[in-house]
Symmetry: C5
Subunit: 331 residues, 5 copies
Amino acid sequence: MLTAFARFTDGRISRKTEAEELSRVLMEPEARLWVDMENPTAEELKLLETVFRFHPLAIEDATHRAQRPKLENYTHVDDACKHGYYYMVIHGPDAETFKEHLQTKELDIFFSDRYLVTVHEKPMKSVKATLERVAADTAAMMERGIDWLLYFILDHLVDDYLPILDYLEEELDGIEEEALNRPTPEVLQRIAAKKRELLDFRRNIGPQREVIAQLTRGEVAIIRENTRIYFRDVQDHLIRTVETVELYRDLIMGARDIYLSSISNHLNQIMKTLTTISVIVMPIMAVTSFFGMNFERMPAIHSPMGFWITMGVLAVVEVWVFWLAKKKGWL
Amino acid sequence: MLTAFARFTDGRISRKTEAEELSRVLMEPEARLWVDMENPTAEELKLLETVFRFHPLAIEDATHRAQRPKLENYTHVDDACKHGYYYMVIHGPDAETFKEHLQTKELDIFFSDRYLVTVHEKPMKSVKATLERVAADTAAMMERGIDWLLYFILDHLVDDYLPILDYLEEELDGIEEEALNRPTPEVLQRIAAKKRELLDFRRNIGPQREVIAQLTRGEVAIIRENTRIYFRDVQDHLIRTVETVELYRDLIMGARDIYLSSISNHLNQIMKTLTTISVIVMPIMAVTSFFGMNFERMPAIHSPMGFWITMGVLAVVEVWVFWLAKKKGWL
Amino acid sequence: MLTAFARFTDGRISRKTEAEELSRVLMEPEARLWVDMENPTAEELKLLETVFRFHPLAIEDATHRAQRPKLENYTHVDDACKHGYYYMVIHGPDAETFKEHLQTKELDIFFSDRYLVTVHEKPMKSVKATLERVAADTAAMMERGIDWLLYFILDHLVDDYLPILDYLEEELDGIEEEALNRPTPEVLQRIAAKKRELLDFRRNIGPQREVIAQLTRGEVAIIRENTRIYFRDVQDHLIRTVETVELYRDLIMGARDIYLSSISNHLNQIMKTLTTISVIVMPIMAVTSFFGMNFERMPAIHSPMGFWITMGVLAVVEVWVFWLAKKKGWL
Amino acid sequence: MLTAFARFTDGRISRKTEAEELSRVLMEPEARLWVDMENPTAEELKLLETVFRFHPLAIEDATHRAQRPKLENYTHVDDACKHGYYYMVIHGPDAETFKEHLQTKELDIFFSDRYLVTVHEKPMKSVKATLERVAADTAAMMERGIDWLLYFILDHLVDDYLPILDYLEEELDGIEEEALNRPTPEVLQRIAAKKRELLDFRRNIGPQREVIAQLTRGEVAIIRENTRIYFRDVQDHLIRTVETVELYRDLIMGARDIYLSSISNHLNQIMKTLTTISVIVMPIMAVTSFFGMNFERMPAIHSPMGFWITMGVLAVVEVWVFWLAKKKGWL
Amino acid sequence: MLTAFARFTDGRISRKTEAEELSRVLMEPEARLWVDMENPTAEELKLLETVFRFHPLAIEDATHRAQRPKLENYTHVDDACKHGYYYMVIHGPDAETFKEHLQTKELDIFFSDRYLVTVHEKPMKSVKATLERVAADTAAMMERGIDWLLYFILDHLVDDYLPILDYLEEELDGIEEEALNRPTPEVLQRIAAKKRELLDFRRNIGPQREVIAQLTRGEVAIIRENTRIYFRDVQDHLIRTVETVELYRDLIMGARDIYLSSISNHLNQIMKTLTTISVIVMPIMAVTSFFGMNFERMPAIHSPMGFWITMGVLAVVEVWVFWLAKKKGWL
């Protein structure tokens, strides 16, 4: 699905997405254009080549998923394109599925001082929010410049990580608590899966720091000095996000320790039970076996009170054993 | 709550907090101003915008908690403000609650060569101490310059970490001792919680080193060369604090090892008890069962002394077993 | 086995591999040459010395396996050779044997702006694919330049890692699952072996990042600016590969944790079984021993219903014990 | 306690410690002075301020213990002092108490090209050795220059770590051996304590490398080029010391592994004992119980040889069980 | 033992080791000299001072063992010596004793563009091989220059590590296999000892990379550009050696994991045996005790087939128990 916003030099606004219209906008140096491609068809992707004349490598990266976050400068390497531009890969959170499987969605961005092209397979909250804002006040928003649009998208994208972090914290608390109280193999499996997800998640969002850092350092001429400070803010939130993910990664490893300790604790508990049972039953067995012996001359056997005295002694011993087990906390 | 100290060029002292008065001070290049906002109302925060004309991003950061420690230079990026200034986020210890939950309090500082604005939600010991000192001798203190005021606050702030470190050391000793002697699941939970707190604490105070380092390196023109050496001293104490927290983090991980080892030790002890009981009871059972057999022709059964001889042999065996268990340290 | 493609200045194509022909191509500055040596004989290797006049050290490295990935500039160090050239060692995946033993194959490359010499012991998919492409359209391919040929080979080589990574992921899933459900010593052995392979694999492909990075940084004059961006793409895929291998290395270490936890779980299960059996049998033993005592005067013994009442009580106790064990999840 | 050595420009030697005498020495640019303050009184410390006019911050650091190793240049920051000087904090080994508690002693040094002031609370072997040497040949030693004196002290100080390292190695061997053979909770406690000491020790001596490195890099003008190579030698010994401490830190962590493994081994041993006892006793119990049954018609019971044949069979079974346990190494 | 090779400017070869002869060689700028001191006497060491006039610190380091690998430039620091020289400490493998105890031998090298002085306590394979080669063709070898001689020695020295690495790999395989199959305390002790050796070994050879790197980077003028590429080759082999040692260090830590897992496995096995025995014996005990009761009225007791029916039921139960244990893999 294609969405386009164009502002011509004379201030005219257009939302047409035909190739000719887009080409016309690109002709005017003072015009501004934003094209968003959501789950684009092959035909729509063709526009990247025919209208924008992007480098084949960049187009290939944009059409194939699973790119690392990166910012590539195509200003000097590309003769086919008359003006300089950047190609950026950034990962936003997958806000729909993170509860089942923690993962990121890729967003590919081409930008120059005249246009912004965003390509993504699935709908992205951050792009959608910016689209709505531009739709509401196209003239003013396009006036502010392409770098400003880019800031809006990235700011939303980074903020969208927050609910995931909150969810993760709850999850971790839950896992830790279960590891402590119900250390079943299922908990172990959950810990392993969560650890894997976090390692993978960290691997995807970690390199974004460097990408955004390039935008804040003034290396990218398209980002004007007054806007740059806003990207510093995005960077700040991103660093906090990455740090929190790293903290969670450390904590999930701690959850495994809790799990192991908890199993050891349970084993101790079981062994205490077994030992206690043995200690309780053994005197009974010893005494009863004793009086099961077939010696002709044995004390107590023939005495009328023998049985009751023996039972009394046994009861006293058992009470003592119970008291001992209680005191040691084994019962 | 707003507190303000102003020294006009003519040496006049003012403690008025009205917007007009503050604006008047800011007019005079040689005047000095310190405004402290404790748990500020929306109206008070408005002053940051109307009187000081700080950058919206900085104001937003100052009004929302949970910022990473940072030092941002707004000298060149901000046209609305006629003079250069810095925005600093620093974390002081939460001296009130650290025994229940180890955490930091955020302090936001705006400073230029003319003014210092401190914003914080909860009362902070370091700010309070500096406020009292300035109240006692306003003229002299304001005379020394804004960088000096900043030093006083940061110096107190870093020193305030010391009682927390002492408390942590005691806590750690206590946890280690309990892990060794009473390895209950509660101790494990305390270790996990403490580790989490320390990781979080470290994450909040670690980046402050870089923030203070910028003040000592002469990058911030507002800090004069003669004052800079004092910030070097603050930096020194801060590094020591961070190193100590890192040491504690390593030690709390060691506490988990002690806990695990201790559980294993207890398990060994239980098993030794169980084995000992078995070894003690088994001869009795074997002998008594033996003489419980119903063979018509068995030795000892019919002999008058059979019973007593058997008992004697059993007693000897038991004494030997007890002696063996004692020697092996199992009793 | 020797394969050669040469394009003379006048556009003539030659596939002859004789030393004289090769020397003739090297004479012409505008001619282009690619010589591939697969499992070369001593005689074929001799050409490196006689025709190309490479540095003895480089030839020695190329003829002995087990070199670290590296890129060495022989432009200035070598007087015997009239033109500058580079010697490169790169490791491709061993696509044939990775299921039994994860390892890499070494590919040695000499290249200047005029020629490309590839030396490898075993057949390599990436070289083969490029050879076929050049064979299909020799003129056009040789026209594009030596750097372009190098890109083709490296691009294929890096892509060839992908099926291995997919296979590894499956393997890891399988190992994790077995560690969880069937923690036999064989699984432990597989984990140890896999970890070793991954450490070794990582050690071989990790340094390649630096090698390729040199090609993308413009340090190698032979790589033209327009081609360089393609090596950036190769670099990107390589980094992703290395990161994935590192992730797998972390996960295989996690598999060991799962294994250990799983063993502990099994031990707990065994102990629960043992304790349950003891708890079930003990009342039977106690009661039956009790009535095995030979006291002359004992209750129930002589009563006609004594036996049945005793049995009833025993049955009730056993039902209760079973219910308890069931509730605790021990059965 | 104050000790002073002064050499006036005219070669006259003085050991007077009065403030006036010291001030007089400082007046002459060619005079040389060393003042050592061991456990100085408040009055003696006053000299740092009145005679040497050191910066208040440096004096404060020197009078309060627990500074991190550091080298601070007070050449440009201090107008009150007419000449440039350095303030250095260095930690020497506590040679008296390291067997009970591994720790360092702080040595504070002020030095310029004219004087050396050493401040320390407890007597230090390295300072004492240098004092004696200067006392023996004051003229020659003072002639060599202040940097030379500094070298002597630091050289001794670093060498004084050697006996501690030797002692630590023996300790570690002892702990490892005990962890293997007698894994009692006391050993675990010793391991934890030693690890803590080593982490702390490492934290104190680690940063000294950077301090000494500054002396060898020519950043400190007071250290002449010919002397600098001697500091390189000190640096070398220091690095070796730190590396050894780091090795010991790794080894003490290994000792914990040995401890844990050793406990597991013991548990296995106990369980083997328990199982063996069970296996030995069980046949006796089974057989004797068997013949304790009250069936009217049972084989063997009434046969004259029944008892002896049964005993024979039991003996054979027991011999076999013993042989089995022996073969499996469980006895 | 002293060995010397000298080539005078006029091409004359001398192998005399007298001080006068050596001094004479050093006089001629175009003469070349190599002096090797194996286990030198105090008198021989005196030559370093009297003939070569090396710096006392360098001589001290060369006469005392246990130096870290380093390269020190004495070109500018030393006025007593008329020409610039370097002092190098390098560690070669101890090829004689590595099977008992993995360690290195120190080799001290002084070199300038005119001479090479090698000092070592024990015979070194690499020095010996170079000595023999020089003895065989002194004129040609000395002609190639001092840097070339140095290369020969270092090349051999690094290659001498290879057999040790091969031996270590075998050792590791052996230890891993034993840890898996026979986890006795002796294996644990071997693992701990090997780990310690590897940590120590790594610590000795690791810093050599930096030493050799200095030779390849063109910082040492004595190494000519054409020779430098050969040192790059030495560096390459050295890095591979260090990487392999690091791999082995990781693997030996893995061996401990295998050991621990293996012990847990054995414990499980023991517990399975114990549980199985209990399960097998318990029905026998229950049944026999049952019929040992002295109730006057009990079923089966007085029936003629009672005994045989009971035995039959017991046999069926036991077969079922055996089958169960077999199925669960506990027997």
